[in-house]
Symmetry: C2
Subunit: 332 residues, 2 copies
């Protein structure tokens, strides 16, 4: 069973989940995403995954059968598990606890597609709807103090299965780095009496050096302190703390801008691997004036090296101004 | 010129150094370490690097000529530069400053070797001596508040040149994550009236589950909260805060244990890429009772994904107990 281990000096924590390495030999860890083997995420292979939690499907079809367009299942190799064992590390020096939480997989298409930018607008809308519905469902459980929805596309971005999917984690704690981000947002609000993300988004939409696109609902830009080349943020124009609170029926707006942004990046960067993260307020903070949900996309062109490990800071060799200029020029 | 940019909300900072991408096209960033081209770090190619800062060489030979065993030069594409321009970002919302510091490259052998574990004990001793001497020299400049010595071996670990080398950065600030580590060490000391690293090292040497080797001078173990598979620490038995303060003439002790550890990892993990970081106290804190220098080695078997980006925490699929058991078994 996975456990959370705390560093006795820094207090930072690690999920120790040997179950996630099907065989914990390093040669296995080297293994690339298996393309040759039967894909458990394809329609018709529903029995290869645990039973579904949720799906968008034809009304005439049954759960765990074909007929779905988006399907959500528990992760077969979860980093977090729902059965809370109350054993705490008995060792007085080192602290550990069960890695308590939920770990879901959102399968984003029934067909075997490995590049999300190939999905059409309708399918993107369904994907966004599934994101919202699962986030909303998990938000209702007060045990979950933080929800993290992310996508790893490409082996270098941490994907182990090629078929496009995202992961949704529900955590019983707020991770230290997330807590710092929220504290920063709160401090910004206290100092300026306005939301920092609203201020940033308005400035980017006005100054345009780092703007990629914008419409009535979203601004898309490369952030000023971009950590990696071509880091791109999608920020809603309307202040809203919780991603899950998006109005029913407005999914198509986000779907359109998300699809367009991912297609731009895919073309500009020649199908480079990337991570995508939806950053939303902890559910218990509800709608608040300082936190503003947004999407961060981190292309994985550069490697993380000793500087990043040693300092927690990044060296970025492409300015966000240059990245935005290149991304604006992409014809779609 | 590289600049430091601060995120207006989280306060975290990034070094924006477009000069480090010789050509800032993403295709270039994809490029692998160039094996085919003339290696600027080989003996005989001294003119391909900036003039040397330091070298260990035959007394009859001249600077920037062959005859050296270890050679230290300024990084040709520095992330940090010594010329401080006092311009601060004029923009009231975003903060930036010149990326002020030193960025040296320690070339660890005159021969073209791409795997440091192939060097012999004598050469490792020279390498350790060069590390100490450069750290000591930079410590004398009170402008440098933190020194970071690290090695990236292998493309996946961030190396761009194969010829074995390390990098030494001198920073005019203490990076936020480093500051938190030092604050954690201080807090541990205040609570327990003993150094946390001493306590950890003694416990690991006694309990042996995570111990790889130990001798009179060093304990080598996989830390309890290992972030990545096979993470390995080398911790000196004697409490010492500053790596630079190692006694003259004791370099061979560290050289031996470092070489043995790197050879073990290289064999167990089939030449996997890795990062190595020397963590030392900020020079201004001098020798203090709470910080204990040590070496962290992070093999790069697993990819960093959305969970790590989103939380700052790690999921590790190999327990340090299992990693240590495998590493102990390696015959050298």
């Amino acid at each position: 069973m996975p456990e959370v281990r705390k560093d006795p000096i820094t207090g930072s924590w690690v999920v120790s989940a040997p179950e996630r390495a099907q065989r914990p030999q390093p040669t296995k860890i080297h293994a690339t995403a298996s393309h040759s083997k039967r894909c458990p995420f394809c329609a018709g292979h529903e029995a290869d995954t645990p039973p579904e939690i949720f799906s968008l499907r034809h009304t005439t079809t049954e759960a765990d059968q074909p007929g779905w367009s988006v399907r959500v299942v528990p992760n077969r190799y979860p980093a977090l598990v729902a059965a809370r064992s109350h054993r705490r590390g008995s060792n007085s020096f080192y602290e550990s606890d069960a890695a308590f939480g939920a770990h879901e997989v959102i399968i984003e298409t029934p067909k075997h597609i490995e590049n999300i930018s190939k999905l059409n607008d309708e399918q993107f809308t369904r994907v966004v709807r599934a994101y919202r519905q699962r986030m909303r469902a998990l938000s209702e459980n007060p045990t979950w103090r933080y929800l993290l929805l992310f996508k790893n596309q490409g082996i270098a971005a941490g994907a182990t299965l090629g078929h496009v999917h995202s992961q949704l984690l529900a955590l019983s704690i707020i991770p230290p780095e997330t807590a710092r981000e929220i504290a920063g947002a709160r401090k910004f609000f206290e100092r300026h009496r306005s939301c920092g993300y609203c201020a940033m988004m308005k400035r980017e939409a006005r100054e345009k050096h780092r703007l990629i696109t914008s419409d009535a609902h979203y601004a898309v830009f490369c952030p000023y302190a971009a950590r990696v080349p071509f880091e791109t943020w999608i920020v809603p124009r309307r202040h809203q703390s919780l991603f899950a609170n998006g109005a029913e029926g407005s999914e198509n707006h986000l779907a359109r801008v998300l699809r367009e942004t991912l297609r731009r990046l895919d073309r500009a960067l020649k199908h480079a691997p990337f991570n995508l993260i939806i950053r939303s307020s902890p559910p218990a903070l509800d709608e608040n004036p300082y936190y503003h949900w947004h999407i961060e996309i981190l292309p994985r062109l550069a490697q993380i090296g000793g500087f990043e490990w040693g300092t927690g800071c990044y060296i970025n060799v492409v300015t966000p101004e240059d990245a935005a200029r290149q991304l604006r020029k992409i014809a779609l």
